[in-house]
C-alpha cells in the first residue's frame, strides 16, 4: 500500500537537510550534492509510483494517512495527517520533478560557490516544506508548510547574506509574506470557530452537506485566504517581494518562481474551491486581482533591463493568469497552467542562469546581444521556453493559457468579457517582452564587455569569451525544454481534437469542467485571436529590437514621463516605502521608542532601582552590628513563630 510510504516523500528531503545542514561543512562537495540529489530523486520516484498507483483502475480517488493526534483539546482536534488526491498528485509531480531538475542544475551552477553545503541544505529544506504544504490534509499542516517555504525562501534569497541587497531582499520577502500569513491565520481562526475543525475533509464536507450556506462567513474566510494567497503568490498588493527575490542564486529563482513557493497560493485557492464556490464575491475578487496583476506586472516587464527581473515580472503576470482562472471557477485550467508554467519558467530561469554564467555574472540585457553563436544549446532551449510562454502553438503555454482565456470569456462572471480582454492584452504583452528579451540577448551586435566584475557567483577567474555551461547544467535545460514543448499536450482541448487529459485528471477533485460541444467554434475563434495577439507581440518585438533597433528608445523619448513611470515600476516600492515603511517607522519610533521605551521600560527600570535602594536603606538599619539587637530580632522572630504555631490554626480557621 503506497500510503505507508507517503511519509518518505517529505521526510527524505528533510533528511538531506539535516545531513547537509549539520555535517555538510566537513563533507566534500561531491558527497554534499550526492546527498541532496538522492534525497530529492527518491521522492520523485515515489511520486511517479504513486501516480501509477492512482491511475490504475480501482484506485481510490483520494487516500491518506493519519498519525497520532497533533493538537487535541476538548471539542477540537487536529491530526498529523497527509492525504493525496489528483490535485496533490499533480503538484507533487511538479514539485519533485522540476525541483529535482533544479537540484541537478544547481550542482553545476553552484560548483564554485562558497557555502555549497548550506545552499543544498536550504534547497532540501525548501522541498521538504513545499511537500508538506502540498500533502497536508488540514489547514494547520498546510500552514506549517506555508510558513516553512517562507522561511526557506528567506534563507535562499538572502543566500549571499554578506551583500546588503540580498539580505534586504530576503527580509522583504519574509515580511511581505507575513502580512499575507496574517490573513491566513485569521481565516483559520474563523474556521475553527465556525466548523470546529481544520481538516479539509471535515470543513469541505460540512460545506458540501449544507447547500444553503452561501456568502457571509464563507466570504470572510475566503477573502482572508485570498490575502494569504496574494502574499505567497505575489499578487497585487503583495507582489513587491518577488522581483527582489532575484537577489538569490539563479536556481533559487527558478525553484521559488516556477515549481514551489509562488504556486502555493494558487494551490491553496484550488484546494479550497469548495469554499470559494460558495462565495461569488470572493471569486470575483480573485479574478480581478488576477487580471489586474497579470496586466500590471506585464507592463512593468516591458521595460526592465535586468534579464532576471523581466522573468520575475513575467512570473507575477503568469500567476495572475492562474488567479484569474481560479476566479472564474476554472481551477483545473489554473492548475494546468501552473504545471506548464513550472516547465517553461523553470527552463527560462535556468537558461537565464546559463546566460549569466556564460557572461560571468552580467545580468543587464543592455550589455548582451549576439550570444546565439556562443552558447547554442542555451539559446535553443531558451527559445523553446520563450515560444512556450508567448503562447504560440503547439507549445505548452498555448494550451494552458488559451484554456484560461476561453474559460474567462465564457464564465458567468459579469466581467467575464473584460477579464478575457485584459488577459488577451496581457498575452500580447507577454509575447512582446519575452521576444524582446530573446532578441536583446541572443541577436544583434555583441555588447557584452569581457571584464564583468559584478559577478553573481564567485568565479571571476575565467571571465573572458562567453562559454557554454557544463552538461550538468544543460541537461536539465534540455529536459525542461522538451517538457515545455510537449507538456501542454496532455491538455489539448476537445475542440482541437484532443482529449483534455489534464482536465479529466483533475475531475475527481473539481466538479466536471464545462466542455459543451456548442462552444467549440467559439473556442477555436478565441484561440485564433490569442495566437494572432501573440504573433503581433512577436512582430513588434522583432521590429523594435531586431529590424530597427532604436525604435523603442525613440518611442520612449516621445513620452518620457510615462516611460520613466513604467521603468520605475510605477514607483510602487517608493509609495509603499513612504506610506507603510516610513509611516510605520515613525509610528514605531514615537510609540515604541518614545513612549514604551522611555516611559514604560526605562520608567519601570528606574522605579525598580529606586524602590530597591529605598528598601535597602530601610533594612540596612537592622544591620547595626550590635549583637544584642540581632539576638533581640531573633528572639522576636522565634516568638512570632511560636505564636503562629500555637494560635495560628485558630486564627486562620475563624
Amino acid at each position: 500500500m503506497p500510503a505507508s510510504y507517503l511519509w518518505l516523500i517529505p521526510l527524505l528531503p528533510f533528511t538531506g537537510f539535516l545531513i547537509n545542514g549539520t555535517v555538510g561543512r566537513k563533507l566534500p562537495r561531491a558527497l554534499v550534492s550526492a546527498v541532496a540529489l538522492i534525497c530529492t530523486a527518491i521522492p520523485a520516484i515515489l511520486v511517479a509510483w504513486l501516480w501509477a498507483f492512482m491511475k490504475s483502475p480501482g484506485a481510490p480517488e483520494t487516500f491518506g494517512i493519519v498519525s497520532q493526534p497533533w493538537i487535541a483539546i476538548t471539542g477540537f482536534q487536529v491530526n498529523f495527517a497527509l492525504s493525496v488526491d489528483h490535485l496533490t498528485l499533480m503538484m507533487l509531480g511538479v514539485v519533485t520533478g522540476v525541483g529535482f531538475l533544479i537540484h541537478i542544475y544547481s550542482v553545476g551552477y553552484m560548483a564554485h560557490e562558497e557555502g555549497y553545503w548550506r545552499f543544498f541544505a536550504y534547497l532540501n529544506l525548501f522541498m521538504f516544506f513545499m511537500l508538506i504544504l502540498v500533502l497536508a490534509e488540514s489547514f494547520l499542516l498546510l500552514f506549517v508548510g506555508w510558513e516553512g517555504v517562507g522561511l526557506a525562501s528567506y534563507l535562499l534569497i538572502g543566500f549571499y547574506f554578506t551583500k546588503d541587497s540580498a539580505a534586504n531582499a530576503g527580509k522583504k520577502a519574509f515580511i511581505v509574506n507575513r502580512i499575507g500569513d496574517f490573513g491566513f491565520l485569521l481565516a483559520m481562526f474563523l474556521l475553527v470557530q465556525h466548523f470546529g475543525s481544520l481538516s479539509f475533509a471535515q470543513v469541505f464536507g460540512a460545506i458540501s452537506a449544507n447547500p444553503d450556506w452561501q456568502g457571509g462567513i464563507l466570504t470572510a474566510i475566503a477573502l482572508l485566504l485570498v490575502l494569504g494567497a496574494t502574499g505567497k503568490s505575489a499578487q497585487i498588493p503583495l507582489y513587491v517581494w518577488l522581483p527582489d527575490a532575484m537577489e538569490g542564486p539563479t536556481p533559487v529563482s527558478a525553484l521559488i518562481h516556477a515549481a514551489t513557493m509562488v504556486t502555493a497560493g494558487i494551490y491553496m485557492v484550488a484546494r479550497c474551491h469548495t469554499l470559494f464556490d460558495r462565495s461569488p464575491y470572493a471569486l470575483g475578487v480573485v479574478a480581478i486581482i488576477g487580471a489586474a496583476t497579470a496586466i500590471f506586472a506585464a507592463c512593468i516587464g516591458l521595460v526592465q533591463h535586468d534579464i532576471k527581473r523581466v522573468l520575475a515580472y513575467s512570473t507575477i503576470s503568469q500567476l495572475g493568469y492562474m488567479f484569474l482562472a481560479c476566479g472564474v471557477g476554472a481551477y483545473e485550467a489554473g492548475i494546468f497552467h501552473l504545471m506548464t508554467h513550472a516547465f517553461f519558467k523553470a527552463l527560462l530561469f535556468l537558461a537565464a542562469g546559463s546566460v549569466i554564467h556564460a557572461l560571468s555574472g552580467e545580468q543587464d540585457m543592455r550589455h548582451m546581444g549576439g550570444l546565439r553563436k556562443h552558447i547554442p544549446i542555451t539559446f535553443w532551449t531558451m527559445t523553446a521556453g520563450v515560444v512556450a510562454i508567448a503562447g504560440i502553438p503547439p507549445l505548452a503555454g498555448f494550451f494552458s493559457k488559451d484554456e484560461i482565456l476561453f474559460r474567462a470569456f465564457t464564465s458567468p462572471n459579469p466581467l467575464g468579457k473584460l477579464l478575457w480582454f485584459v488577459g488577451l492584452v496581457t498575452a500580447g504583452m507577454t509575447s512582446f517582452y519575452m521576444f524582446r528579451l530573446w532578441f536583446k540577448t541572443f541577436f544583434g551586435p555583441e555588447k557584452f564587455n569581457h571584464h564583468a566584475d559584478t559577478h553573481d557567483h564567485g568565479h571571476t577567474a575565467h571571465a573572458h569569451a562567453p562559454h557554454e555551461s557544463p552538461w550538468i547544467m544543460l541537461a536539465p535545460l534540455v529536459i525542461l525544454a522538451i517538457l515545455s514543448v510537449i507538456g501542454g499536450w496532455v491538455g489539448i482541448p476537445i475542440a482541437f481534437g484532443g482529449s483534455d487529459e489534464a482536465e479529466h485528471f483533475l475531475e475527481p477533485v473539481f466538479a466536471a469542467g464545462v466542455a459543451n460541444a456548442a462552444s467549440f467554434g467559439l473556442e477555436l475563434t478565441l484561440a485564433a485571436v490569442s495566437v494572432l495577439t501573440a504573433a503581433i507581440g512577436f512582430y513588434i518585438a522583432y521590429i523594435f529590437y531586431y529590424k530597427k533597433p532604436g525604435t523603442a528608445s525613440v518611442l520612449a523619448e516621445k513620452s518620457p514621463a510615462l516611460y520613466r513611470l513604467v521603468e520605475n515600476k510605477f514607483y510602487i516600492d517608493e509609495i509603499y516605502n513612504t506610506i507603510f515603511v516610513t509611516g510605520l517607522m515613525m509610528a514605531t519610533r514615537a510609540l515604541l521608542s518614545g513612549l514604551i521605551d522611555t516611559v514604560v521600560v526605562n520608567g519601570s527600570g528606574r522605579a525598580a532601582g529606586a524602590s530597591t535602594r529605598g528598601l535597602s536603606k530601610l533594612t540596612s538599619r537592622i544591620q547595626s552590628g550590635n549583637i544584642r539587637s540581632y539576638a533581640g530580632w531573633l528572639a522576636l522572630g522565634a516568638a512570632a513563630v511560636i505564636f503562629v504555631m500555637v494560635f495560628g490554626r485558630t486564627l486562620w480557621t475563624h
Binding site: G625, I627, R628, A635
Partner: protein, 100 residues
C-alpha cells in the same frame, strides 16, 4: 510524681531569664553565661519529655547539647580573651565590628 507542666514552666522561666539577660547585659561573659542558661532550659525540656515518653533519645540529645556547649565555651572563651586583648573591653556594645 511531678507533672510535666511544672518542668516545662521551669524551663520556660529559665529560658526567658536567659533571653532577657542576653538582651540586657553588656558584659560579654554574662551574655555567654545566659546562653548556657538557655541551653540548660532546653536540656531540661528534653529530659522531661524523655522521661514522659520513656524514651532515651531526649537524654542523648542532652549529651549532644552539652558536648556542643562545652566546645562552644572553649572556643568562646578564647574569642573573649582575644577581644579583650585587642580592645581592652568586655562591653558588648563597643564590639560592633560587623556593622556595615
Amino acid at each position: 510524681m511531678v507533672p510535666i507542666a511544672y518542668y516545662l514552666i521551669l524551663a520556660a522561666v529559665l529560658f526567658s531569664v536567659g533571653v532577657a539577660s542576653f538582651l540586657i547585659k553588656r558584659n560579654i561573659i554574662t551574655v555567654f553565661m545566659s546562653i548556657e542558661l538557655m541551653l540548660n532550659a532546653v536540656n531540661l525540656t528534653f529530659v522531661a519529655f524523655a522521661h514522659m515518653w520513656h524514651q532515651v533519645s531526649g537524654q542523648i540529645f542532652v549529651f549532644f547539647v552539652m558536648v556542643v556547649a562545652a566546645a562552644e565555651a572553649a572556643v568562646g572563651l578564647a574569642i573573649i580573651i582575644a577581644i579583650f586583648r585587642t580592645r581592652q573591653t568586655l562591653n558588648i556594645d563597643q564590639v560592633n565590628l560587623m556593622k556595615l
